[in-house]
Symmetry: C2
Subunit: 193 residues, 2 copies
């Protein structure tokens, strides 16, 4: 949904920052690894219960995560390994953030919140997995409502405004629904052939 409009705007905004970091000698793959390390840091902040600050940092760090791709495109360093590493660490970053929040909820003894956090984690993974698996079978699959930018914005804003569990509920439902949309898409695409 958001993805197309958001990506276009964000890519233009990210380019000068990315080029500055590149001029300091950082490569796109280094930015990918730094982005992941920052997400682990934010996950610890969430685990410790600083949810509002954590939510703000979720948005900042996730914006940082776009710089690797921006630098790679601007300097024509796009590689297959770079794309693979970026995707893999994007999954780990998102898993880290949701694990941090989940552990906070576990510590609180919030069983419903914990279940929603797991469901959000599983749904987020499945949105990415269904696309990757479809592409492995030779089909494009960039469809559905809730790609990563939307998930991160819902989670970040939810944390900032004290609505962590409702935000998890929204991501849990819509991410798994999006995975279902992708299954339906692959079903239609393969039936036509």
């Amino acid at each position: 949904m958001l993805t197309a409009i958001f990506k276009d705007w964000a890519r233009r905004a990210a380019q000068p920052v990315a080029l500055t970091l590149g001029s300091l000698g950082l490569t796109p793959n280094m930015l990918t690894v730094i982005g992941f390390a920052l997400s682990v840091g934010v996950a610890v902040i969430l685990w410790l219960g600083h949810l509002s600050i954590g939510g703000f940092l979720v948005l900042v760090v996730s914006a940082f995560d776009m710089l690797d791709g921006a630098l790679a495109r601007a300097t024509r360093q796009t590689t297959r390994f770079g794309a693979f590493l970026d995707s893999t660490l994007d999954r780990y970053s998102e898993a880290a953030l949701l694990t941090g929040l989940l552990m906070f909820l576990v510590v609180q003894g919030d069983q419903l919140g914990s279940l929603l956090a797991i469901a959000a984690l599983v749904g987020s993974f499945m949105v990415s997995y269904t696309r990757a698996r479809a592409e492995g079978l030779g089909l494009s699959c960039e469809v559905g409502w809730l790609a990563r930018p939307e998930r991160i914005i819902i989670l970040g804003l939810g944390l900032i405004f004290g609505l962590a569990v409702p935000a998890l509920a929204v991501v849990a439902v819509l991410a798994n629904f999006t995975a279902g949309q992708r299954v339906a898409h692959v079903w239609r695409a393969t039936r036509e052939q």
Copy 2:
């Protein structure tokens, strides 16, 4: 590791059972969906704390999950959508089992166990994700120590013998290590080209 030997033996054992179910009018995709529904049932049993029975059922239901592929191969009904649906619901099945066990640990207030369950869930996903993503980039990636059969056997036996948390620790470490092996594999494969 186990996968090659295990798959060969299991496929031969599964074929007559699969053909019997097929002769009753069940299609491979129906078996895929039934296998997933059974996993959700086992997840609920784990959540309720019946870990030994649950562990035994994890092994039984996961064996059932091979019947879809066996029937598809034996009756030449292998399709791209069938492969996609099988992979997708295999991920959901494994997620359901680990979520059931995680929720039992959350109810118990076992924070370390909960963290290990999440790490096992994330690692298991990443083993499958890295392979699918690599295949989407045109690389084969069936490497590494801990594919699904090994994960299920460790988890099932751990549950049966009252070693649920140690089993989760083994899966958490080895699954994420396997994801790392796959990243290293893709790095080598793309560097050579």
